[in-house]
C-alpha cells in the first residue's frame, strides 16, 4: 500500500520545508517524520514518498537512508533500546548492563524479541559519559544504571 501522511503530519512537513532554501535540505527531517509515521522504519514506499515530495531521485533518498544508522531499513520492535558501550560507559560497567539485557530479553544485541516488543542494540557514545553506564529507550535516556534499574525498565517495556 502506498505510504501517506496524516493532515497534521503534512502540516509538519510544510513547516520543515519552510526552514530551508531548497527542498533537498529537508531530506533528513522529513525521513524522521515519515519513519515515525511508519512504525519506525523506512520502507521502499516511504523512500518513494519522500523522493516525490522533495522532488529528488529515489537513489538520493536511499543513499541517505543507508548512510545514517538511525534510519531503520526493516521494522524494529515496538520499543528500541540502545546500550552505550563506548569507553566512558565501558569503564563503568556497560558490558555487564548489555549482558544483563541480553539475558533478560533472551536475545542478542541487534535482535528483536519474538513478541516484537523490544529491539536491543548497542550504541556508540551517546554524550552521557558523566552518568555512565546508560541506555536510551525510545526517546528517553536512563543514566547511572544498575541491573535493578535495568530490570524495572525492561519489565515496563515487556508489559507494554
Amino acid at each position: 500500500m502506498a505510504f501517506s501522511l496524516s493532515a497534521e503530519q503534512e502540516r509538519e512537513l510544510g513547516r520543515i520545508l519552510s526552514r530551508y532554501p531548497n527542498k533537498m535540505a529537508a531530506t533528513i527531517p522529513v525521513l524522521h517524520l515519515c519513519q515515525a509515521a511508519n512504525e519506525n522504519w523506512v520502507s521502499d514506499e516511504v523512500i518513494q514518498f519522500v523522493a516525490d515530495k522533495l522532488e529528488v531521485g529515489t537513489a538520493h533518498v536511499q543513499g541517505v537512508v543507508t548512510f545514517y544508522t538511525l534510519f531503520n531499513q526493516s521494522k524494529p520492535g515496538k520499543h528500541q533500546v540502545w546500550v552505550c558501550r563506548t569507553l566512558s560507559c565501558a569503564l563503568r560497567g556497560a558490558e555487564g548492563i548489555l549482558h544483563h539485557c541480553e539475558k533478560r530479553l533472551k536475545i542478542h544485541a541487534g535482535e528483536t524479541t519474538a513478541d516484537g516488543k523490544v529491539t536491543l542494540r548497542t550504541a556508540e557514545c551517546l554524550a552521557s559519559c558523566g552518568s555512565a553506564p546508560m541506555m536510551q529507550v525510545d526517546k528517553t535516556y536512563h543514566e547511572n544504571l544498575t541491573t535493578e534499574r535495568v530490570d524495572e525498565i525492561l519489565d515496563r517495556l515487556i508489559a507494554d
Binding site: 526552514r19 530551508y20 532554501p21 531548497n22 533537498m24 535540505a25 529537508a26 531530506t27 533528513i28 527531517p29 525521513l31 524522521h32 522533495l54 529528488v56 538520493h60 543513499g63 541517505v64 548512510f67 545514517y68 544508522t69 538511525l70 534510519f71 540502545w82 558501550r85 563506548t86 569507553l87 566512558s88 565501558a90 569503564l91 563503568r92 560497567g93 558490558e95 555487564g96 550504541a123 556508540e124 557514545c125 551517546l126 554524550a127 552521557s128 559519559c129 558523566g130 552518568s131 555512565a132 536510551q136 526517546k139 528517553t140 535516556y141
Partner: protein, 448 residues
C-alpha cells in the same frame, strides 16, 4: 588554577533554569540587544579580544574565524552551530542545551550579526531528544517575545534560528560533513578549499561554530572581550576566558564543571572529579575526547626555549594548565576538554580495542586509508586481545595508523590514528604481554 565560574552553568539543575523567565532574570538577552546596537566590526572585535578558542576540539580562534566571512555578499550568509556532540568522553554541549538553551539562542543572534547572516541552523544529533525539545522551546519563547524574526528587539536586523537533526553519524560533527548533512545529503566530508566561509551551506558563505563557543558569546559582549579573556591564566597562550570541563571514567564524581581556562588535569581529576575510584592509582588519562593522545601521569613537561613553559618544565603533564597550545607543545591535544580517566584496574589494551571499534564503526568510508585502515586495526586488535597476534602484527598497528595520518580528506583519520599511536607506544609492554603470554599479567577488564 582552579577557579569556578557560572556564566553558562548558573541555571544548571534548576527546575525552570531553561525557561526564558529564568534566563532574563539573570540578565539574558541584554547582550544581544546591546550587540545589535553596535557596529558589526565592533562585535567581531570584542569576540577577537576574548580569545575564545573553539570549544569543539580543533581550538581555532572564534573571532578570527568570524573575520573570514565576506564584508559584502550577494549570496545569503549562514551561521551553523555544531551540536553533533559524539566524541567519546564528551558530554558538555548537552548540558547547555538542556539547562541553558537561551544562551545558545542569544549567541546565535549575536553570531549572525557578527558574520552578516540572517539565519542560524543548530545541528543537533538526533539522539538528544530533550536537547532538541529545549532548544525549540527556547526559540519559540524568544520569537514570541520579539527577540527573533524580522525585527529583533525592534531593531532592523532579521534573525531566524532553526534546529536541524542528524540521524546517527559521528562524522557529521566534522564541519563539512555537517554541511552536507544539513543540505540533505550523506554526511561525507568535503575537500577544503574552498573553506565554509567561501562556500559553505547551500553554496553560501558560512561559519560553523561549536555550540559552547556560541553560547559563551553573550557573556563576552556583556563583560567586554578583554575582561573575559583575563579570566584565563593562559591569555599569553591566546587562550582566553572560561569554559566547560568534563571528567568521566574511573573518578568518584564524574560531571561537567565550568571553570576559568588554566585548570590542570590534576585539579580536574582530584578536586572536581573527587579522585580515583577506590583511591586506586591513576593509570592514564585521555584529556579531551578519544581522538587525543592518551597521557600518563609520569610524563613530564619538557618545552625548552619557551619562557612561558618555564614554570611547568620538569613537572607532570597533570600539572600543566589545560590549553590548546600548552597541550600541543607537549605532544598532546586539548580537544573538547572532557577527560576520560583510567585507573590501574583498567586494561589499556582493552581500552584501545573499545575505542577502535568505535572508529571502525564511524568511519564514513569515503577515503581508503581510513575506511580500510580502521578495519585492519580493529581486526588486529581482535587478534591481540584473543592472544592470537604476532609481534609483527603489533608493529603493523603502528604502520597502519601512520599511513592513515595526513592521507584523508578530514581530521577523522588523524583522530582514529592518535589513540593507536599513543596507546601502543606508551603501553608497549602491556601489548607485548598480550602477544607473548595472552595477557597473563593484565587485568583483562575495564571496570574498576
Amino acid at each position: 588554577m582552579l577557579q569556578k565560574t557560572t556564566f553558562l552553568s548558573h541555571s544548571y539543575a534548576k527546575p525552570d533554569g531553561h525557561t526564558l523567565a529564568a534566563y532574563e532574570s539573570a540578565g539574558g538577552y541584554k547582550n544581544a540587544r546591546k550587540a545589535l546596537g553596535m557596529s558589526r566590526d565592533a562585535v567581531v572585535d570584542e569576540v577577537k579580544k576574548a580569545k575564545i578558542r573553539g570549544r569543539g576540539g580543533a581550538g581555532f580562534d572564534c573571532g578570527t574565524k568570524w573575520t573570514f566571512m565576506p564584508k559584502e555578499s550577494k549570496k545569503p550568509c549562514y551561521l551553523v552551530v555544531n551540536a553533533d556532540e559524539g566524541e567519546p568522553g564528551t558530554f558538555k554541549d548537552r548540558t547547555i542545551m538542556e539547562w541553558n538553551p537561551h544562551s545558545v539562542v542569544e549567541g546565535c543572534i549575536i553570531g549572525c550579526f557578527g558574520i552578516g547572516a540572517h539565519a542560524a541552523y543548530i545541528y543537533v544529533r538526533d539522539e538528544l531528544h530533550l536537547s532538541k525539545e529545549r532548544l525549540w522551546a527556547a526559540i519559540e519563547e524568544a520569537r514570541a517575545k520579539g527577540y527573533l524574526g524580522q525585527k529583533p528587539f525592534g531593531l532592523d536586523y532579521p534573525v531566524e534560528v532553526y534546529v536541524q537533526t542528524g540521524a546517527g553519524a559521528y562524522i557529521c560533527g566534522e564541519e563539512t560533513a555537517l554541511l552536507n548533512s544539513l543540505e540533505g545529503r550523506r554526511g561525507e566530508p568535503r575537500y577544503k578549499p574552498p573553506f565554509p566561509a567561501q562556500v559553505g551551506a547551500f553554496g553560501c558563505p558560512t561559519t560553523v561554530n561549536n555550540l559552547e563557543t556560541i553560547a559563551i558569546v553573550p557573556t563576552v559582549i556583556g563583560m567586554g572581550g578583554e575582561a573575559f579573556c583575563k579570566l584565563s591564566t593562559l591569555a599569553e597562550f591566546n587562550d582566553g576566558g572560561s569554559r566547560l570541563f568534563g571528567v568521566s571514567g574511573h573518578v568518584k564524581t564524574p560531571g561537567v564543571f565550568e571553570c576559568s581556562v588554566g585548570l590542570t588535569l590534576r585539579e580536574l581529576i582530584y578536586d572536581l572529579g573527587g579522585g580515583i575510584l577506590g583511591d586506586k592509582r591513576l593509570l592514564a588519562v585521555i584529556p579531551g575526547g578519544s581522538s587525543c593522545p592518551v597521557m600518563l601521569p609520569e610524563e613530564l613537561v619538557n618545552v625548552p626555549g619557551d619562557p612561558r613553559f618555564e614554570p611547568y618544565n620538569g613537572k607532570s603533564v597533570l600539572d600543566l594548565p589545560l590549553g590548546v597550545e600548552t597541550f600541543r607543545a607537549v605532544g598532546g591535544m586539548l580537544g573538547t576538554c572532557c577527560a576520560i580517566v583510567l585507573s590501574e584496574d583498567a586494561d589499556p589494551v582493552l581500552a584501545l580495542h573499545n575505542l577502535m571499534r568505535f572508529y571502525r564503526h564511524e568511519s564514513c568510508g569515503q577515503c581508503t586509508p581510513c575506511r580500510e585502515g580502521c578495519g585492519w586495526i580493529e581486526r588486529i586488535l581482535d587478534k591481540i586481545v584473543e592472544g592470537r597476534a604476532t609481534l609483527d602484527e603489533l608493529d603493523q598497528l603502528h604502520r597502519i595508523a601512520s599511513d592513515i595520518t595526513g592521507n584523508t580528506i578530514c581530521a577523522f583519520g588523524d583522530g582514529a590514528a592518535q589513540p593507536v599511536l599513543s596507546f601502543v607506544k606508551k603501553f608497549r609492554k602491556q601489548f607485548e604481554d598480550y602477544v607473548l603470554t595472552g595477557g597473563k599479567s593484565q587485568t583483562k577488564k575495564l571496570v574498576a
